[in-house]
């Protein structure tokens, strides 16, 4: 079965998971799908597989055969493709779709948050980064990935916490319920086990510890509060840089944003607006924009 009119696929491929949204030409939602991490920095093939898996789930939910794939116009937002060699590797993919348009996860998140209009976003999820899209052009800040950047992200919070837990196990800082909870969640009895398990862990695994930082910060643990404040302070500076570009709207998005928002400055919080749509919708808006550009 070949569709007379194209189907549109929006892909939001991040460091922890990959979401797919499949709609018809007039905007009806046909199906949605979810797969694992899709950041090509952690593996080009894994990224492609995550995109295909998320798409297949959406297509199957829609009750459509694989034949429709050749009618699908895909907009794909991916973490990591701000690095030129990774963008090129993904663009060289012999994908099964009619068309595939690739941009950053940040770009589609921004387009989604402002329903296809200009605006600024700060993502606080497994990673962290900021983007302002104005008439004057785009300003992107952060988004340097785990280890070198991504301060204030889930992976960063988790790493700080694990480092603290190891210092506490050395007797360099006090033992606490927070530290006990880290070892319990990791299912490790010793520092050696924790090191074996996490020395080469990916951001996704560190981000699983962000919840403990937030929970114990709320409960009054000073270490957790310091970690949260340090991350939030960085994100606050990032928001202020974006506000300097006078964007139409500014939105915080990503799973950790509701928890970090209370730690931002009053100045910044007063200027935030809620995000309007999910990044998958932004990915579809991006694909439609690219098609129009191609026609013009």
């Amino acid at each position: 079965m070949k569709y007379e009119e194209p189907l549109f696929l929006g892909i939001d491929g991040g460091g922890s998971k990959c979401r797919a949204l499949l709609i018809d030409a007039v905007g009806n939602v046909l199906g949605e799908g979810l797969a694992g991490a899709a950041n090509p920095l952690r593996g080009i093939e894994a990224s492609k597989q995550a995109i295909l898996e998320a798409y297949d789930k959406a297509r199957i939910e829609a009750g459509l055969d694989n034949d429709v794939t050749e009618s699908v116009i895909a907009g794909v937002g991916l973490a990591g493709v701000n690095l030129p060699h990774l963008k090129l590797a993904m663009e060289n993919w012999k994908h099964p779709f009619a068309q595939m348009h690739i941009t950053t996860d940040l770009d589609i998140a921004c387009l989604g948050a402002h329903d296809g209009e200009l605006g600024a976003v700060v993502i606080i999820g497994t990673g962290s980064c900021g983007l302002s899209k104005t008439d004057q052009g785009d300003l992107e800040i952060g988004g340097h990935g785990f280890l070198l950047g991504d301060k204030g992200s889930g992976a960063w919070f988790g790493l700080q916490l694990l480092q603290h837990a190891l210092e506490a196990s050395d007797g360099l800082t006090l033992e606490s319920q927070l530290v006990a909870d880290v070892f319990a969640q990791a299912q490790c009895d010793s520092a050696t086990e924790l090191v074996s398990k996490y020395s080469f862990a990916t951001p996704k695994f560190f981000a699983e510890y962000a919840g403990l930082v937030i929970k114990h910060a709320k409960a009054g643990d000073l270490i957790a509060q310091n970690i949260l404040s340090e991350g939030a302070n960085y994100l606050d500076q990032l928001c202020k840089k974006l506000l300097d570009t006078c964007p139409n709207r500014v939105a915080l998005i990503g799973g950790l944003s509701p928890f970090v928002e209370p730690y931002l400055s009053e100045t910044v919080r007063a200027k935030l607006s809620p995000p309007l749509k999910e990044p998958e919708w932004g990915a579809i808006a991006f694909a439609k924009n690219q098609m129009q550009l191609a026609i013009v």
Copy 2:
């Protein structure tokens, strides 16, 4: 040619390089050798190759044939073998020596620094860690490896500096000569290039930036001073924990120790003694101890 008396080989295998010292049964130095990184956490095979390469260089410098290898009793100190699975992997090696006795790089450094006697050391090199050996037993602190631990080490200083350089390139902190020097040393023109080059770099490569931190801290750069102070503060706490065990002597060792020492507290600095011998000598002392234990 088979030696009537055994030869002793001391190996100091760290995260940046592997040193070998070959002596005869009465303690005369026959030869020395140097090879690349030997931390099995970064690859078991690479670690074995580094040990063999450093040994071969020492043997060749000594003017000895490969036949002598079966008379060699090796003491091997390795980074990473505090992790049981890595120690086991190295112990299962079908090595070419008469005997091979494995312990941590920290253990042989301590034995070397105190000429085979009890004492305490703090290593400040590519990684960081502390050990106190007393009549009451051993106390080991830190040494959790890059990413989760190793605060105040060369790799840690370098990572902090690269993170700072990326924040500066985003306009979140001021540009400075320090930041310009980072991009010059990395031979990178942009943040994107720096991220591509260093996102998965090993500790050794980050440690190459420690020199810039030290140089600019001396020259008055506040960021460099803050990084150096934060690392030194951690190492100072670590020294104090070791001093609590009342060791005979305490020595700082490792390439960065002369540069970090001035940033430690007066209390700690007053109690430091110079290291007496290199870790390779400690590795030989360890092998000799193990042989005596086997005889008893």
